[in-house]
Assembly symmetry: C3
Homo-oligomer: 283 residues x 3
């Protein structure tokens, strides 16, 4: 992490150390919680901290913004800065390196999803171990609708998590998936009523925090063997993202989306996945 840059930018991840074994991390970046180059840098630093926290057994990720867990990648962010980023410890670009390392941290990770988690936001929750969702959660991978291949592991992870048929429906249809269908498909673990999910997640986390970290990490390591793709399987997805996302022919449609309220809390962002399909057909 370039600390001189980090010093100038607000922290997006707020860590509440409930106990040495249990941390709660709240994500906060603008009105809809976009993922941007600062997110990459700060998440990289946060993951390193988690990797090295000797007593840390469980981490809960949540959002500070009603309606949005983590909207998606910031379409207005500095692409040149992203292109210049150096590979992380896995040898992968840090956007992807973060997600690959996040899956393997020696602590249980839980996403408490009470709002929209699309594109990079969906890829983030897919890289955590467990996804609890309230009925206000909406998940999706709308990248196909803006002419791009998702770059952060969505194909590798959804293919294994929900099966080929549903993964292709999610990824090729690019639509929004409400919590109930997400749970039917296995995209999230289960749905908990919105006024109970904080308590439910907290109780689950306190259980795990009370367990022996040796057992937690020992179990997770074997589940990794059974369920995680080889790190290198992720690389072609990100390569395809870079090859497709920045194409000149995508620009007019992205401009149309921005003109209709993309990245604002009350415009088309509310039902982005569905709307992109409609707009594409009118386009």
């Amino acid at each position: 992490m370039d600390t001189s840059t980090a010093a100038k930018t607000p922290q997006q991840f707020h860590v509440d150390e409930v106990s040495p074994a249990y941390w709660r991390v709240t994500f906060d970046n603008g009105p809809v919680n976009l993922v941007d180059p600062d997110t990459i840098d700060q998440l990289s630093a946060l993951i390193a901290t988690i990797e090295n926290a000797t007593d840390l057994t469980v981490v809960v990720f949540r959002s500070a913004k009603p309606g949005y867990f983590m909207a998606h990648w910031d379409f207005l962010s500095d692409g040149a800065r992203v292109a210049r980023m150096q590979p992380g410890p896995t040898g992968l670009h840090p956007y992807l390196d973060n997600l690959v390392r996040l899956s393997k941290v020696p602590a249980a990770t839980i996403s408490e999803i009470r709002g929209r988690a699309r594109g990079a936001g969906s890829e983030f929750v897919l890289a955590t171990d467990i996804r609890f969702a309230s009925p206000k959660a909406v998940l999706g991978q709308f990248e196909v609708g803006v002419g791009a291949v998702p770059g952060g592991g969505a194909m590798a992870r959804l293919g294994r998590l929900v099966g080929r048929g549903r993964a292709l429906e999610i990824l090729l249809g690019g639509d929004d998936f409400p919590a109930s269908i997400a749970a039917d498909y296995g995209y999230v673990n289960r749905v908990i009523a919105d006024d109970q999910i904080e308590e439910f997640t907290d109780a689950f986390a306190r259980r795990v925090a009370a367990f022996d970290k040796t057992a937690v990490t020992g179990i997770k390591k074997q589940v990794d063997v059974a369920t995680l793709p080889d790190d290198q399987e992720f690389a072609p997805g990100l390569k395809a993202y870079f090859a497709t996302a920045g194409r000149r022919e995508n620009a007019p449609f992205v401009q149309l989306l921005l003109s209709q309220g993309l990245q604002q809390p009350d415009g088309i962002e509310t039902d982005l996945g569905t709307t992109i399909g409609t707009l594409r057909q009118d386009h």
Copy 2:
């Protein structure tokens, strides 16, 4: 494809080119939509056409016959003709070559299932990307009940799609699975009311057709890596089919089935999977 033969036989696959990006294919072969040697030849030609259709992004498969999507392999078809067929591009027998290639066509493929899809019919829908089913859909692999191992990839695909336990229930029990259980198990993506499924599938297909084919094929390629078995994993299944299906000891039971209305729309074909189990126990 032997075009001299094709010239003599009616076309079973009727292609409606809704647009260059969206084709609707209707299968029509006798009263219950059997799969026979002509189906193999014609499907091979259709897949080649799909592979080479530059602008084609999505294909919907549907049935012309109420109650039957694609019943199963024709027990009265010419086995010698099937045995003589030359390997397709994958090096596999064309029955299997078709299904392996169908999974990999550079377009999204959707089965709209409003009737029975058993045996080869089930294997066909499993080789398409996405399965939408109406409550009138019935799926199953009854081959075990006639003494055969399914040959078109059912073990490889169901094992990955619905998990070992449910795959073994489907394949070793050989029973009929109504749409609701098929959806619970992940055998189909979801159930849509019968009077809405055409509109639902069409809307989904039009969404995908409006997207950039480069993104669609780029995504599908990575999902293939995550979810498809190696082509060679399919070969032993077909070998086991040929070794078991034609055995002399199976013949009397198949004759019994034929005498009770097999391959006719209103006889035992209506609840074939269930009935085979009953008849076997009485036999």
Copy 3:
């Protein structure tokens, strides 16, 4: 099997040969059906018998004890005896060797689960082909709560059966899963009313028993290729179990559990998974 020992110990597995093709095995070992070193020896012998029963096509496993299918490993059993056990045919320790071989027997295996199946009990049902559960079934892997990594394949099997997210929830949370959630997650095939499950399982078994064994074993072999991990993937799990389960620091908590009714039918055993979490947090 040490037959001199076996002669002194009661048989835990009672085999009812309904027909040469269909066996019903009832497990009976103390008030809660614990798994102990005798279970290992006797299961090894039973599996060898099943492997060699020429006409056997289907085996149903059930419990003689209301409320308990197979509680878990006996915490009071002779660890030195277990440590001395010689590898089975797969080269793995016989506890694990049994389960790996059980998955591959040339007959369909069905667990009829009407009570608790936790830890080793859960690992047993996961090693059978098909799991039918009544609403009285409770499944779970509570090992994390007693400081241990499960040793009998739970990570390898659950990871593939229910997907990474739900496998990690089950294994890291260590809680009890009632039948309904177990079915939602794919941990069991389906839920059947308790007063109907015997009839349902029996009807399913009679169907399969009426089929040709050649087809059953041919199908199962290909599903194995698609769904079973390599035998060697299981070994690190058991190694981690032995490295973690017997640690001195686990002993006081296990003593606490024993003092509160562990391994007794009406104490904490009734909701063991949940209770362990509560006790750990108070501990």
